[in-house]
């Protein structure tokens, strides 16, 4: 009886602590990710350092996904067939265009997304922003 009363009077500390803990970690993590993105953004492509940075990040994310996945956002119950069709058409047209341009030599006249992104990603700042966005997408994938 006494045990039940104690349980009933206990405040929901676990929920509060989890929420505060998540919030207290968020900004330092964002700051660290920004610094890391800037460092990775400064690495030259086709170098061991850039490969280690990207595969190292990927390995950490895969390990988290496998061994310590975060609390996931519940998936939608069902998707409308028309909605899926709209995405399929859009992604299909994009993919066909990308593959066709690649087969045509990926040149100025037939640019793939990589060719279009190269001059932008040549700048360290833009590259760092892109790395940060890439990591943010990875975090979002882990939560799904």
């Amino acid at each position: 009886m006494t045990h039940d009363t104690t349980r009933a009077e206990r405040p929901p500390t676990a929920v509060v602590v989890t929420s505060t803990s998540t919030l207290s970690w968020r900004w330092p993590l964002i700051a660290v990710t920004l610094v890391y993105s800037f460092i990775v953004g400064g690495l030259r492509t086709f170098t061991p350092a850039s490969n280690v940075a990207i595969f190292g990040t990927g390995a950490i994310f895969l390990a988290i996904a496998l061994f310590r996945p975060p609390k996931r956002v519940p998936p939608p119950r069902s998707l409308e067939r028309r909605g899926i069709m709209a995405w399929t058409i859009m992604l299909g047209v994009f993919s066909v265009q990308e593959i066709a341009n690649d087969l045509l030599g990926s040149s100025y006249a037939h640019p793939t997304l990589s060719i279009l992104m190269t001059p932008i990603l040549d700048h360290q700042l833009f590259r760092a922003v892109a790395v940060f966005v890439w990591i943010a997408v990875g975090v979002e994938l882990l939560r799904r």
Binding site: I54, L79, H110, L141
Partner: protein, 62 residues
């Protein structure tokens, strides 16, 4: 001309990816909802994460 066509297709695709599902009562899912559905299965999760890793390698390391 083909370059402009390519740019238009990429711009439209990007705009649609952002706009899909944002309207109220839209039948088209948002990109988050679509990902949520894909990530339900273990295969979907593995493929999505590997594709994400490939994108990072392709643009930042290769």
């Amino acid at each position: 001309m083909t370059r402009i066509l390519t740019l238009v297709i990429y711009a439209v695709a990007a705009a649609l990816a952002i706009a899909f599902g944002r309207r109220e009562r839209s039948q088209v899912p948002t990109v988050e909802e679509l990902l949520g559905k894909v990530m339900v299965t273990r295969t979907g999760r593995a493929c999505s994460l590997l594709f994400w890793l490939w994108v990072g390698w392709h643009f930042f390391a290769r």
